[in-house]
Amino acid sequence: MATAIMEQVQQISSEEMEKIFREHHGLVFRAAYRVTGNASDAEDVLQTVFLRLWRRDPESLVVERLPGYLHRAAVNAALDVVQSRQERGKMALDDLAPKLLADKMPTPEREHASTEIRDWLRRAVGRLSPQAAEIFALRFFEGLDNPEIAESVGTTTASVAVTLSRSRERIQKEFSSFWTKKAGRQS
């Protein structure tokens, strides 16, 4: 089946490719936007995902359904962006600061706090292992249920549940300390 889709993709013309792009770019862009939290990153992800599809990297096409594949590819490429942003962040916070600030719209205080938590959460997910991050994002950002995730990433529902539970625990733990510090800053 997977080979069949690859063949199919390989043999399609540029018109058909455009059709695929037109049909699915929204899905890819929105998923990327949810994971990265900003439009310019989402745009990069969109380009990456389709370039990879055109490139017929056999690995990237071992899938049964194109939308499912693209969804997953979008989440992963987006997580890559989040992760590499953190690596850069480690090395040179200064370089990064203007970009991060620019991403944030001036908002009332409460809105700002909530954005901050979401940004924190995205970064925290980026710190998970690649697979755990993917599963977490599919579950909590994309709203898939466990059997859907299991099918998509090719594992068992039980394994998804365990991974999720561990990721959740870890994030909760990190969040508690983030929250405490944040409270400390504000008081």
């Binding site: 540029s14 370039l51 950002f141 999720l164 969040f175 929250w179």
Partner: protein
């Protein structure tokens, strides 16, 4: 398990908001248009003429890319690929810069400033030595192949320096021995050594390889290597830096030699690092730095430059996860500071053992194992394979489950105890525990039936002393009360215990001195506690037995052994106390003092024991007196032996001896284990005279019995007389060499070992001064000890077993696994006026509960390690 919500409402809110985050459809369309126009404009969406397979193809595109002649489609593909592929990115960056900076010129590069005079000399010397060894190798080595390494893959500039010539190296090129191999800036190479080991060389690194016997040594002069060592049957691969030597057999590890010092990071398996006087064993995930100023970085970070890092890191994660999770999540139960059950015991209790209920720990371990197996495809494959075999994971898991479910009915401690009966004999042991929940009886019944087989005994349950009184003699007997359970292997014992439990309180344990001693142990916190009232146990001994008891052993009081985990470290201590000052044999152990004889033992010893004793002559005299009293023929026999030997054992052999002894296994294990005996001697002349007399007497006897005689020879060297005995019967252990040094008699199986031992002492390279040993000393009030027993069999003995294992038992027998997993242990012994204390950090032989589980696990879950020849960490990485 609730996978729907977080325990923090803010997180729930945040995920909800993220899910609902919307973006203007118009913005999406705009972005999509931009992306599509970029893709379409390049034509990347059109079928590509030549498909690109892998990094090589991408790298081939780089020159065209830099020249600007690449089609827009390919340009975009390459840019995208170099974005995600570090190794291609490096190639690109290098080639881009290469236009500006031509590296191989050498003069302007970093190389020119780096070598200082000692370095240049070292390099020169190394090259000379390398060349010399290469020539020797060419003459005597197997075949005519002179290369010790071959370049498998190189990115960027790699060269070899031989003599004065410097030459760029190409892929597939063989590297003659002794030549230095250097990688240039932003280059990286994969080199295969002759033994099959793979060396990944980081940029700006240099090394050369030498070979001696079966050993291969990679001299890392600077920079970093990541080595995937091949499994070898004989010999070792060593990596030598300026200040550190690393020994390995089949493992993956990185070494970084910098200006400050060296750093060793282990990805997989086990390596031994020697730095100065210190030897350290590192396991997967461990790191060693030779300079304090080199702060630790994660192993992952340390090898991040490697092209294979993902693969290595995956391995690392597997090992680290398993070990750490077990260490972190499996906890021994908390220490117990009191016990309700001890108050209920009979006053005659003479033996008392209390162990913690491990059901929680077993459950934790099981949970960790299951989870890890589920999470990791590799582990899960192994697990499944083992389960099919029918003797691995399945049984282990089942055993753990049974043990746990039995323990789940019981309270926090399980007590085994035995009391003296009216005639002064020790009764059968009784088991007691508090009951936490109902259903215990049904559980035992079911287990009993399940495992019954042809067992003749019957199972009996009673609820009261009255019922217990009517029990038969043989069988298994349980008294189940509302809150506790008592088990005994015979009816009478159970009945007696039941009567005391139900009685008014008279005849119970509290109030007796032994009870107070046990309470004292509880006050300090009890883990595993074993106590014996030796005075009570020996009280009813007959006069005859008493007379036969060796001198000093008649006034024993208590033996209390405690093992507990404090802050993650196990501590074990045994205290043997006496009713008065120690006498006789018990007094041989002197009060703590410096043990000078241990200075002949190096930090590499696999085993060492040393003791300070009271005067040997007096001790032996006491023993002789006791023997004579018990055996009327002893004096005559002694006289006969002494007459034959021509010496007085007391005066001529024991008389010259001083007050301390040490024995050790220290040095190569083959062909003969390097044993070593050191004894303090006050009168070497007299002892030597006596020894010669004994040898002469023995030879006279041997001649008349037609047996081979002992050859005795002596040799003068460096102001010392070396004596050598050859006892043909004992082959291959037939050689004994000894020498008198500064008031010590030093004996070993070869002259070399004697010299080496003398050197250890002279240079201070000694076990007792090594950091590893010092770190193992228990924290207490003593500055010295009366004795020590030290083992580091994992380094000392494991290699022997490995060698033997190839032909006999096969590698990876449980014994081997066990020994390889042993951590070094040290028992210190203290003699005080009325007691002897033996203490150790770590459980018995370093095997704490968590370690045991890990041992079993490693053995089971990593059965492939012996096939692959990797010595994986069996014990924890603490």
């Amino acid at each position: 398990m609730n996978s729907e919500h977080f325990d923090h409402p803010e997180l729930d809110k945040a995920t909800e908001r993220i899910r609902q985050e919307s973006i203007e459809p118009a913005a999406v369309e705009k972005a999509a248009q931009r992306v599509w126009s970029r893709i379409a404009a390049t034509g990347a969406h059109a079928p590509v003429a030549h498909t690109i397979h892998g990094c090589k193809d991408y790298q081939d595109l780089i020159p065209a890319y830099l020249a600007g002649s690449l089609t827009p489609a390919r340009k975009l593909l390459l840019e995208d690929h170099t974005h995600e592929c570090v190794s291609c990115r490096k190639v690109l960056e290098r080639m881009r810069k290469g236009k500006v900076v031509e590296f191989p010129g050498g003069g302007a590069s970093q190389w020119a400033v780096r070598p200082s005079f000692p370095w240049a000399m070292a390099a020169g010397l190394a090259i000379c030595m390398g060349l010399a060894s290469w020539m020797v190798y060419r003459l005597v080595g197997p075949g005519s192949v002179g290369s010790r390494a071959v370049v498998e893959a190189a990115e960027g500039v790699l060269y070899r320096v031989s003599g004065n010539a410097t030459q760029a190296l190409a892929q597939g090129q063989e590297l003659p021995a002794g030549d230095q191999i250097r990688s240039a800036k932003e280059s990286n190479a994969m080199i295969r050594l002759r033994d099959g080991s793979q060396v990944e060389l980081r940029e700006r690194s240099g090394f050369y390889v030498t070979e001696s016997g079966d050993d291969l040594t990679l001299h890392l002069q600077y920079g970093a290597v990541l080595i995937q060592a091949a499994k070898r049957r004989v010999g070792h691969l060593f990596v030598q830096t300026r200040d550190v030597k690393v020994a390995v057999t089949g493992t993956v590890f990185g070494v970084d030699a910098g200006s400050k010092g060296s750093r060793v990071s282990v990805v997989e398996g086990e390596v031994h690092v020697t730095h100065g006087e210190m030897e350290k064993v590192l396991h997967a995930g461990d790191q060693f730095a030779s300079a304090v100023t080199m702060t630790p970085v994660s192993v992952a970070q340390d090898i991040a430059w490697s092209r294979n890092r993902e693969e290595h890191l995956a391995l690392l994660r597997e090992f680290a996860k398993l070990n750490n999770t077990l260490a972190e999540e499996v906890h021994l139960p908390d220490l117990r500071y009191s016990s309700r059950l001890v108050d209920l015991l009979p006053a005659e209790t003479a033996l008392y053992a209390s162990i913690p209920n491990l059901s929680t720990a077993i459950g934790q371990a099981q949970e960790v194992i299951r989870r890890k197996v589920q999470e990791s495809p590799e582990l899960s494959r192994w697990w499944a394979e083992k389960a099919e075999g029918g003797n691995g994971s399945g049984r282990f898991d089942e055993m753990m489950t049974r043990l746990r479910s039995a323990n789940e009915y019981l309270g926090s401690e399980l007590i085994f105890t035995a009391a003296m009966d009216s005639s002064g004999r020790l009764q059968h042991p009784v088991f007691l525990a508090e009951l936490k929940r109902s259903g215990f009886r049904e559980f035992v019944q079911a287990e009993w039936t399940r495992t019954a087989g042809s067992r003749p005994q019957s199972l009996h349950f009673v609820n009261s002393a009255a019922e217990a009184a009517a029990l038969p003699r043989n069988g298994a007997f349980f008294l189940v009360r509302q809150d506790m359970v008592v088990f005994a292997p015979d009816g009478a014992t159970l009945a007696r215990t039941a009567a005391i439990l139900e009685g008014p309180g008279a005849g119970r344990f509290p109030g007796s001195p032994f009870y107070s001693r046990i309470q004292e142990a509880y006050r300090g916190g009890a883990g595993i506690l074993v106590a014996a009232d030796l005075e009570r146990i020996t009280a009813s001994q007959s006069a005859e037995t008493r007379r036969q008891t060796p001198p000093g052993m008649a006034n024993l009081k208590y033996l209390v052994v405690e093992s507990k985990e404090i802050a993650g470290r196990s501590n074990t201590a045994a205290v043997l106390s006496f009713r008065g000052p120690r006498t006789g044999i018990a007094s041989w152990l002197a009060v703590p003092a410096a043990i000078g004889s241990l200075e002949f033992v190096s930090p590499e010893a696999g085993f060492a024991a040393g003791f300070v004793v009271k005067e040997p002559k007096a001790a032996l005299e006491e023993l002789f007196t006791w023997a004579a009293a018990n055996n009327s023929g002893f004096t005559t026999q002694l006289a006969l032996v002494e007459g034959t030997l021509g010496v007085s054992i007391l005066n001529d052999l024991a008389g010259p001896l001083g007050g301390e002894f040490s024995v050790a296994l220290d040095g190569p294990a083959l062909p003969v284990p390097s044993w070593k005996v050191v004894a303090e001697v006050y009168d070497p002349g007299r002892l030597q005279q006596s020894l010669e007399k004994v040898i002469a007497a023995y030879n006279t006897m041997a001649v008349s019995n037609n047996k081979p005689t002992v050859t005795f020879s002596q040799e003068q060297a460096g102001g010392r007389t070396y004596y050598k005995l050859v006892v043909p019967q004992f082959a291959p252990w037939n050689e004994i060499d000894y020498v008198f040094v500064d008031g010590y008699l030093l004996a070993a199986p070869s002259r070399t070992l004697l010299d080496r031992a003398i050197q250890y002492r002279a240079t201070g390279y000694t076990l007792v001064r090594s950091q590893a040993f010092q770190a193992m000393l228990p924290a207490d009030r003593f500055a010295n000890f009366s004795g020590i027993v030290y083992q580091n069999l994992a380094t000392g003995i494991a290699p022997i077993l490995e060698t033997m294992g190839g032909s006999r038992a096969g590698a990876g027998t449980p014994m081997q696994t066990m020994i390889a997993g042993l951590k070094a242990t040290l028992f210190t012994v203290y003699g005080e006026e009325d007691k002897i204390t033996v203490a150790s950090q770590g459980g018995v032989f370093g095997l704490g509960f968590a370690n045991l589980i890990q041992l079993g696990l490693t053995d089971m879950l990593m059965p492939g390690r012996n096939r692959e020849g990797t010595r994986t960490p069996a014990a924890s990485s603490k």
